[in-house]
Amino acid sequence: MTSNQNVIEVSDLRNAFGEHVVHEHLNLNVRRGEILGVVGGSGTGKSVLMRSIIGLQQPSAGDIRVLDENLLDDDTRNDNEVRRRWGVLFQGGALFSTLTVAENVQVPLREFYPHFDQELLDEIAMTKILLSGLPADAACKFPSELSGGMKKRAGLARALAMDPELLFLDEPTAGLDPIGAAKFDGLTRELQETLGLTVFLITHDLDTLHAICDRVAVIADKEIIAIGKIEELLKSKHPWIHEYFSGPRGRAANQGYG
């Protein structure tokens, strides 16, 4: 175990696609054991930030450390060690379409623990599937047979397969009905508490922010303009933050949790 309290450290990050600069001097620390919500308008680069952190997007400058490992340097020895310790839920679930849900969950396990028996793999898959709130009979279904919400849960089951320390969720509640979204929020909180996870959560869902996030980071103007508890952000004078939290939807969510 590391003594470092920050699970993710992003410093001076710069991302650009051609002429279009997405991030400039972006700094962000995610503390161990917290649920950090990341918000920002469409196109402000929330997903790009996540992709940079998990190593899918090569930044043009800056430094990123995840679980005390720099994934951007040429030293790739420990990179897989880090990948084994995180789980990622993509927006659409990103399930492998030719595999059943149970097989999807087993993919990371087979990759890292080839000596596990099929029996144990099946049991682990089933545990994770139930843990993520899916019914048992979803295990042998193919992704195309699942609804959008079930796909997300199956994606979560796969992300949890390796008992990660760090969980990335990209808009987990988008496209879910309010009841399903609330359940998903509850599930995230519960998992975070029982498994001691650190969660990096991108969302547009104001209810999610109020209900489960310990801290919220706001991306605007190519950087993190504010980070802190939601009550602190409510007092912010920044026009975008003000509009975000005090617009009609923000007010409704506020009152609900006020």
Binding site: R77, S97, T98, Y113, D122, E123, M162, D163, L195
Partner: protein, 384 residues
């Protein structure tokens, strides 16, 4: 090499550092298992299979020596405890919470897929194949009907023809195929001439090589080889394009907007292929004749002028007509097989690959079957 070894060692380190348990046999109604170390996925190793092999009763499981535990460790403990109806002792807060969470779930076995005895399965698969191919055939007939109706509609309302799409397909199906079709036909011409020359020389009839080249290319090979090339190039592309559009729900979007996918996607592709096939076929024949002529000139020392003179004498115009009549029919079959298979795609990415393969196989098969019918037919009407 060193790096690879180090990576491998890292990956399998978990096996050597397996978490351990001791068996304490002092209990009265069974042994006590005392665990030590970390009960986490990276350090479990073969503990699970060793626990499964225990064939004597376990009365208690002592977790006092466990420092860290995760859901997988908790599940293994919980399962062992459940199987032996053993008591779990000295679990710390973290372990207790996880065990509680895991025990709440009724973990069932994953239902096994339908897997009957081999002979039954063979019969099942044969039956399945028969039913599927019959259904595909009927559906394909229906599809051809739809395309024809859509074509007639366009004849009545020519303004509904998607000219842009048609021109785009023109470029892809025809223009960009010129190089490869030309090269292929040129080489085939050389091969025919060379084989003809070798075989006919035995009878001192080398000059008949020209008959072989002229008749074979115009009547059969020019169009047939072009059809195979177009099926591999364009038929497969149609299936893959339309199949992908099916998965991304673009086809559904078209339908809801009121655009007929047959009119917007299938018809331009089919028309483009029908129009280009005779041109490509003729072009292929000419290229084969040039290739054959080159070989005749070099190997048999027949000068080009004589070659052309002889070609005109021995190749009847009907051979040219036959090629010209067959080509658009083949084109229609190839394009429609491609589009049809593309529209059959459902569910997942693997299907796109399967249907693309099916499109090419089906197209080439149908082309060769039709070619056999044409051969008999044209002989029948005296065009031989």
């Amino acid at each position: 090499m060193l790096v690879i070894l180090r990576l491998l060692r890292q990956k399998y380190r978990s096996m050597s550092e397996a978490v351990n348990f001791e068996i304490d046999e002092t209990g009265e109604d069974g042994v006590s298992l005392r665990f030590a170390g970390n009960l986490i996925i990276t350090e479990i190793g073969d503990m699970d299979s060793r626990l499964r092999k225990l064939d004597y009763p376990v009365s208690s499981i002592d977790l006092s020596g466990v420092s860290r535990i995760d859901t997988i460790g908790a599940w293994i403990i919980e399962r062992t405890a459940r199987e032996h109806q053993a008591q779990i002792l000295h679990a710390n807060d973290e372990a207790a919470r996880l065990l509680q969470r895991v025990s709440e779930q009724q973990v069932e076995n994953i239902p096994k897929l339908f897997n009957p005895i081999p002979i039954k399965r063979i019969l099942h698969e044969i039956g399945d194949a028969v039913v599927t191919s019959t259904r595909t055939m009927i559906a394909f007939m229906g599809f051809i009907g739809q395309v024809v109706i859509s074509f007639l509609t366009i004849l009545i309302h020519p303004s509904r023809l998607r000219l842009n799409a048609l021109v785009m397909r023109f470029e892809f199906v025809g223009l960009r195929a010129l190089a490869i079709v030309g090269l292929m036909s040129f080489l085939i011409g050389i091969v025919i001439a060379q084989q003809g020359a070798v075989q006919l020389r035995q009878f001192g009839a080398e000059v008949f090589t020209i008959n072989l080249i002229g008749r074979l290319t115009f009547r059969e090979l020019g169009v047939l080889m072009t059809a195979i090339m177009v099926a591999g190039r364009s038929g497969s592309a149609f299936a893959a394009q339309i199949g992908t559009m099916k998965i991304t729900e673009e086809i559904d979007a078209m339908r809801t907007i009121g655009v007929s996918p047959i009119e917007a996607l299938v018809l331009p592709r089919t028309l483009a292929t029908i129009m280009w096939m005779p041109l490509l076929g003729f072009y292929a024949s000419i290229m084969a004749i040039i290739g054959g002529g080159l070989l005749c000139w070099i190997v048999l020392e027949i000068p080009p002028a004589t070659y052309i003179q002889r070609l005109r004498e021995v190749t009847p115009l009907t051979d040219f007509y036959i090629g010209l009549i067959k080509a658009p029919v083949f084109g229609a079959i190839i394009a429609m097989a491609g589009c049809f298979q593309g529209l059959q795609v459902k569910n997942n990415a693997e299907e796109v690959g399967l249907k693309t393969t099916a499109a090419v196989v089906q197209a080439i098969f149908l082309v060769i079957v039709l070619d056999a019918f044409f051969a008999v037919f044209f002989s029948g009407i005296g065009w031989d």
